[in-house]
Amino acid sequence: MKIALTAADNTGLEAKVDPRFGRASYFGIVDLELMEVEFIDNSAANASSGAGIQAAQLLSDQEIETLISVKVGPKAFDALQSAGIDIYTVDGGKLKEVVELYKNENLNKLDNPTNPGHMG
């Protein structure tokens, strides 16, 4: 099974989770069995508006079913829900640590956006 994490850089499992979703620098796609990561550039990062929506579209197109990030706003939340992507949140850390937390069921599934929306 593959899950996506927002990533601040694309160096490997030592990379830190990016605190932003829509404007995250990269998405790390982690294969949980092999513990291998592939990075994709977040083409939504420089969107003039609706970055969270475009990022959700990107993950949906990649057939991702699970996302781990720090903050997810209301429009991105609606989009991810529509895409059938489960969202888990974490305060921060390296991808490797966060994946372990997820595997051990130590992360909370998100039922509501983490923060009110902002424009742009």
Binding site: S49, G50, I53, A56, Q57, A79, S82, G84, M119
Partner: protein
Amino acid sequence: MKITILSGKGGTGKTTVATNLALSLNNAQFLDADVEEPNSYIFVKPNFADRKELVWREVPKIDQEKCTNCQECVEFCEYNALASFGNDLMVFPELCHSCGGCKHICPEGAIIEDNKEAGQIKWTPDVNGLEFWQGELNIGEISAVPVIEQLKEHINEEKTVIMDAPPGTTCPTVEAAIDSDYCIIVTEPTPFGLHDLKMAVEVVKKLDKPYGVIINRSENDANQIIEDYCTAEDIPILLRIPFKRQIAELYSEGFPFIEELPEWQERFKEVLGEIEKVIE
């Protein structure tokens, strides 16, 4: 005659100038186009009663039966107001700029128009001799332009029109200034004031409007920074409103200072006289 009052920087005194100028004139119409936070009413004190009209803008709505999920509209929309997940095309009206492009590009004719309320317009035909109009943008709306456009439809060409523009130098300010005959740029004698004055000057030059400057919170020593620039650029300084405690106190209490300092009515009338000379 239509005069737009603008300023690069917010908080320089646009509303002070616009309201005091309008209240000094006979047969004037006032339009508060600073629709994100209109505040001229605080000084003019109009009674709108129930005179109100709504401003609508077009946003897309999907005819799901016709939509084949080709995603052409999703790729087209620069503002990500459309997204497609599985067979579900989602619209985010708050991100839509009402350009109509998605409707145009859809090969199936599956996009129909829906309306979203963008704001409202209120008015009163007479408050102390002034005809007063005000636009209000709804919270969360992405652009002030539709409200300003509709506000301008009520311009009365028979009167001297004073329009209080939104601060800054972006689309809403341009929308407020583009049909005017003259622009008054309000500034303050500070480095920020000068910096944003220069930006406002660039805008009115591009719009090819005659213009002049009013210095608010004017002080002899401090003014040099603005005076030097205006001299070098050959920009007329129409008026200098002094940095005086009495004016500040009247402002803080919601009173136009011309009421307490009636000699200023004459000075504002003289400003109008100067402007009339330039336009003719």
